[in-house]
Each structure stands twice: as structure tokens, then as C-alpha cells.
């Protein structure tokens, strides 16, 4: 794919250090124009730092990154003209109205008054928050702020859009709406979208390709289907009446087993043919501890992450409860 389309984002052994801490440790990326690239990893993996380097807020400590044809270290101004960024926390001024914020964004990107008016028409339709654009942003719900933040990132028609955890803290309805907007941008404008997320289903739903980052290193990359195939054809998950670790050896010696992982009372078995193997697995497990629950399913990206890092992704949803509440009660 990258051989046909020009490259929108390229990183070669990208490094970013903060003192002794290496937050991004030799990341290589090659993302063709028009692709939605999902950057998946747990909190603290280095996703946001990578984004901040690629969008010129931080300089690389080592390596090189080229975005929209320009080096982020030596030509940041040209990069800024060609990218849009929605950071993890919606970066909005609560005292401005939505329209004021978008107009100011347009002016700072050098757009004329008529161009700004045109973009307001398009963006008002895109983000679909109607008359709320006239209200102070402080009165918006979490979902509305995210959508306005997205609109602000799009005022100048960027070639590359960075979305840093765009749906963290959103309710399922707002999340689905944001997904649709991301798809639409990619479909209608062929915009390259670099999306960081800690939600596996988000990467699965949206991304053409997914990169998995852990401890600052890119540990895997490919389409969601390719990554899942690395795990095996099927996944058998059993919950035992007791500690699962002693059952590991009983399952590992069975034929057709790809890998075995345990966590507490849960044992996760990947197999080339789950339907043919599940009976033997059940029998083997029952010989160690009673099986309370047994399921057969296709692999998820969480299984991929578990396979690659030995850990499940821990999702931080601390913002969920507050996100849909406006900051202030009054409405203009």
C-alpha cells in the first residue's frame, strides 16, 4: 500500500527522552496518505509523547520524523500548516463561544474572512452541535467539546489529522458519533488520520492499520486482521474454580495449541482450530480444577496485546463520569 500512495507520516528510530526517562524509544512508522492509523497502547506507553513530537510540540531527542513532507525538527512551521491536532484533553477556552474559537483558529491559519465563513458552514454541519456554537464553550458537555475540538483541528483543511485518544471519557453514543465523523473525514477528504487510543474496539473499528506501542517501543504493526492472525485462529477462554496457573501444563501438552496464558482464575488458550480443540481443553482443565465457564471466540486486539506484552491493556476511564457534564450550569 505504501508503495503506491505517498507517505504522510514517516518516523525513523524516533526517540524522545525526558531526563532519564525514555518515553519513545526508537519508533519507526510509515503511514501512507489517506490511511487511518491506530496507535494502540496502555496509559504511559508513549502514545501521546509520540503525537506531541509528530505535531511539533516536542522536538525528537533522536531519530527523525517527517510529516506531510516536512521534518518536524527543522521545519515545524510548514508541518503546522498541514496538520490538525485534537489533543487528549479538549484544548478549548471555556469563555469563548464555539464560533469565536473557530474564527480565531481560521485567522491564525491565515484564512480570509470569506474562507472562514465557508469553513464555519462546513464544520457546523460536520460537528452537528447547532446553536451551541453561539454559547460559551464552558457550557458544553464532554461530547460537544470533543466535537468542537475536532472542528478546530479541521478549520484549515489539514492533510494529516492527529487525534490523541479522541473518545476517552465519552459515553458510548458520543463515541460512536465520533467514530462516524472520523470515517467520514477519511472517506470524503481522504485525510490521513493518526489516531491514538487505548480502546481496542476503536482501533479495530476505525484503523486500516494498527501499531501497538508498549514501554515506548512499537511491538507490532499491521491491519487488525493481520495482528489477530498472529495470535492464532481461535481463542478459548476458561474460568476455573481456583488458580489457573497449575492448569497451564495440562493444556500446553495438547495438540493444536498455539499459546497459553493465565491470569488469576482465567486461562486463555489460542488454537488453530478452536472447535476441534475445545473439548480436549475442557477435559484437560477438569483434571486440574472444575471449569466454571468456557467460551470459544475469535481473537481480539487485546489477545494480540496480551501475546506481545504479557499484559492486558488497562483502560483509564476516570473521566467518564464527569465528561458529559457541562462545566457550568448557566447557558448563554
Amino acid at each position: 500500500m505504501s508503495g503506491i500512495r505517498p507517505v504522510a507520516i514517516r518516523a525513523d528510530r524516533l526517540v524522545r527522552r525526558f531526563g532519564e526517562l525514555t518515553a519513545v524509544d526508537g519508533v519507526d512508522l510509515e503511514i501512507p496518505r489517506g490511511e487511518i492509523y491506530g496507535f494502540l497502547g496502555p496509559n504511559g506507553a508513549g502514545k501521546s509523547t509520540t503525537v506531541r513530537v509528530l505535531c511539533t510540540l516536542l522536538s525528537p531527542s533522536g531519530g527523525q520524523a517527517v510529516v506531510a513532507g516536512y521534518d518536524v525538527a527543522t521545519d515545524p512551521d510548514r508541518v503546522r500548516l498541514r496538520i490538525g491536532v485534537a489533543l487528549q484533553e479538549a484544548a478549548l477556552d471555556p469563555k469563548q463561544t464555539g464560533i469565536e474559537l473557530l474564527r480565531l483558529q481560521g485567522r491564525l491559519y491565515g484564512l480570509s474572512r470569506s474562507e472562514i465563513n465557508q469553513r464555519l458552514v462546513e464544520l457546523a454541519r460536520l460537528i452537528d452541535i447547532g446553536d451551541a456554537l453561539r454559547r460559551p464553550i464552558g457550557t458544553y458537555s464532554g461530547g460537544m467539546k470533543r466535537r468542537l475540538d475536532l472542528a478546530a483541528a479541521l478549520v484549515h483543511n489539514p492533510e494529516v489529522l492527529f487525534l490523541d485518544e479522541p473518545t476517552t471519557g465519552l459515553d458510548p453514543v458520543s463515541r460512536a458519533r465520533m467514530w462516524e465523523e472520523v470515517r467520514r473525514l477519511n472517506r470524503e477528504l481522504e485525510m490521513t488520520i493518526f489516531l491514538t487510543t487505548q480502546y481496542l474496539e476503536e482501533a479495530d473499528e476505525l484503523a486500516d492499520r494498527v501499531g501497538i506501542i508498549n514501554d515506548g517501543r512499537l511491538v507490532a504493526e499491521g491491519s487488525p486482521a493481520e495482528l489477530k492472525r498472529r495470535v492464532g485462529e481461535d481463542v478459548i477462554v476458561a474460568r476455573l474454580d481456583g488458580w489457573a496457573e497449575p492448569a497451564r501444563s495440562a493444556v500446553e501438552r495438547l495438540a493444536g495449541i498455539h499459546s497459553v496464558d493465565t491470569r488469576g482464575d482465567e486461562i486463555v488458550v489460542t488454537a488453530t482450530d478452536g472447535a476441534a480443540t475445545i473439548g480436549a481443553v475442557a477435559v484437560a482443565l477438569n483434571g486440574v480444577a472444575p471449569v466454571r465457564h468456557l467460551t470459544l471466540r475469535t481473537p481480539t486486539l487485546d489477545d494480540v496485546f496480551l501475546e506481545l506484552t504479557g499484559n492486558h491493556i488497562q483502560i483509564d476511564n476516570h473521566a467518564d463520569a464527569e465528561s458529559e457534564r457541562p462545566e457550568r450550569a448557566e447557558v448563554a
Partner: protein, 277 residues
């Protein structure tokens, strides 16, 4: 503006969007855009401008009420109202800045949003400061009106009023540099608010209440080194004597020296805040 109202501007679908592309804005437009935003915020944050006006008017009235009879009986021909006007103005305009708003931008992440645009970093600061000059000019108006109503006459005439306001605004800007330096360095609203404390020694170790010649020896010495002394004397010269270029020149030098110091700190803090390394 709703989507329906906006559509009257004549755009049909999202695919038209590609015809518009970003380009660097000119520096003046950058500064005016940032200043415009800062000024739009003022009516929504009256709490940032009402107290300075109130405090300035309060001290102006109280000081005159306290000292008028004393000066009438012991200093014939001394106009306490004219003398106190510059003091009140400096109390009003000193420490008034958008530095507090800048700190909130840093905390809200909006500052990062600005840094993600091609806006010149210096324009972010200069835009805020331009707004400060406008706000300082506006703050002097009610105090000047009160002064004129109670019989203060500016010897330098209408042009002197403009010069008087300009001196106040430039002093306000020079002093605001400290608040911006603290804002950019710390990103802490409490630290910015406390920057006003810097002004107390400036304002009270000078000739704010009596002419410099009447100050005690040690205080007179300090006042001679205090730039506020020369700002006050420059303004007083416009009120009481007309155009005294020597006094005005000293005021300009005093403001310039404070500005060089505060702006140096401010620019260093801006460089540090926007450094990407």
C-alpha cells in the same frame, strides 16, 4: 450562527473544503487576532477590571478627604486633588493584565492549541500586551472623569490628557511584563495574582502621598531610586505645570528601564515555555 444560517453563505458539501488551505498569517494579523480575543474576554470577566477601578476611585476620594483640610491650612496653593490623581491612576492600572488569563490557557491546554498553529510565539505575548494597553487606557477614563468633575484642571490641555493616559498605559504594560514572566514561568494562577505584591514597595516608597522633598531622609533616598517616583512626577507635571519635557523624559526613561527588565524576564520565560526540546 446555525448550520442553516451558515448555509446561506453558499457552500454545499464537505468536499468543497479542500479548496481552502492554510498559509502563514502576517505578524500584525497574528497580534491583532490574539489581542481581539483578549479584549472580547473583558466584558465576560468584569471581575478583572471592576476591582482596580473601584480601588483607584476609593483611594482617590479617601486620600483627598483625609488630606485636603490639612494641605489647605498648611500648604497654601497646594492642590491635593491634582497631586493625588496620578497616584490613583497608577493604583488603578498597575497589575492589570491578561497574564491571569494566559495562565488559564496554559492550564486548559489552549496555549498548546495556539502553539500548534503557525502563529508566531511572540505574537501570543504581544497580542495580550496590546490588549492590556487598551484596557489600561479604558481604566483611566472613569478616574479622569471624576477628577475633572471635582475641579482638577490639566495644565497641559487635551493633548496632555492623551499623554497622561499614555504614560499610565505604558507603565501598566512595563509592570505587566513581570506578571507575564511569572505566568509563563510557573503556569500558576496564585503566583500571578501575587505579582501585584511587587507593586507595594514601588508605590508606597515614593512620592505618592507627599512631594519627594517632604519625605524622610531614608525614604527620600529610596524614592530617588524608585522609577514610580519619576512616573508620578511626569504625570503631575502635565496636571500642574503643563509640558515639562525634562520631567516627561525622566518618566519615559523610568518606564523604559522597568520595561527592559520585565520584558527580558518575560521573553526568557516565553522561550522556556515554548521550547520544544
Amino acid at each position: 450562527m446555525t448550520a442553516v444560517e451558515l448555509s446561506s453563505l453558499g457552500v454545499s458539501d464537505l468536499s468543497d473544503a479542500r479548496t481552502i488551505e492554510a498559509r502563514p498569517a502576517n505578524p500584525v494579523r497574528d497580534v491583532l487576532s490574539i489581542a481581539g480575543r483578549a479584549l472580547r474576554a473583558v466584558p465576560r470577566e468584569l471581575e478583572t477590571v471592576i476591582p482596580p477601578i473601584f480601588i483607584a476611585l476609593f483611594f482617590f476620594i479617601i486620600n483627598i478627604g483625609t488630606l485636603q483640610r490639612l494641605t489647605q491650612s498648611h500648604a497654601k496653593g497646594f492642590d491635593i486633588k491634582a497631586f493625588m490623581l496620578p497616584t490613583a491612576i497608577l493604583i488603578g492600572v498597575t497589575g492589570v493584565s491578561r497574564a491571569g488569563a494566559l495562565v488559564l490557557d496554559i492550564q486548559d491546554g489552549y496555549f498548546d492549541r495556539l502553539l500548534l498553529t503557525p502563529v508566531r510565539r511572540l505574537a501570543i505575548l504581544v497580542g495580550h500586551m496590546l490588549a492590556d494597553v487598551a484596557i489600561a487606557c479604558m481604566l483611566t477614563v472613569p478616574i479622569l472623569i471624576l477628577a475633572l468633575l471635582i475641579g482638577v484642571h490639566l495644565e497641559a490641555g487635551p493633548a496632555g490628557v492623551v499623554a497622561f493616559v499614555l504614560i499610565a498605559a505604558l507603565w501598566s504594560l512595563a509592570f505587566a511584563g513581570f506578571a507575564y514572566a511569572i505566568a509563563l514561568k510557573t503556569g500558576n494562577p496564585a503566583a500571578v495574582n501575587s505579582s501585584f505584591l511587587l507593586f507595594f514597595p514601588f508605590l508606597f516608597m515614593t512620592s505618592s502621598y507627599v512631594p519627594r522633598g517632604q519625605l524622610s531622609g531614608w525614604l527620600n533616598t529610596i524614592a530617588a531610586w524608585n522609577p514610580v517616583t519619576y512616573v508620578l512626577e511626569g504625570q503631575r507635571s502635565l496636571v500642574s505645570h503643563g509640558w515639562q519635557w525634562g520631567q516627561l523624559g525622566k518618566a519615559a526613561v523610568a518606564i523604559g528601564l522597568v520595561a527592559i527588565l520585565s520584558m527580558s524576564l518575560c521573553l526568557a520565560a516565553l522561550r522556556q515555555r515554548t521550547r520544544r526540546g
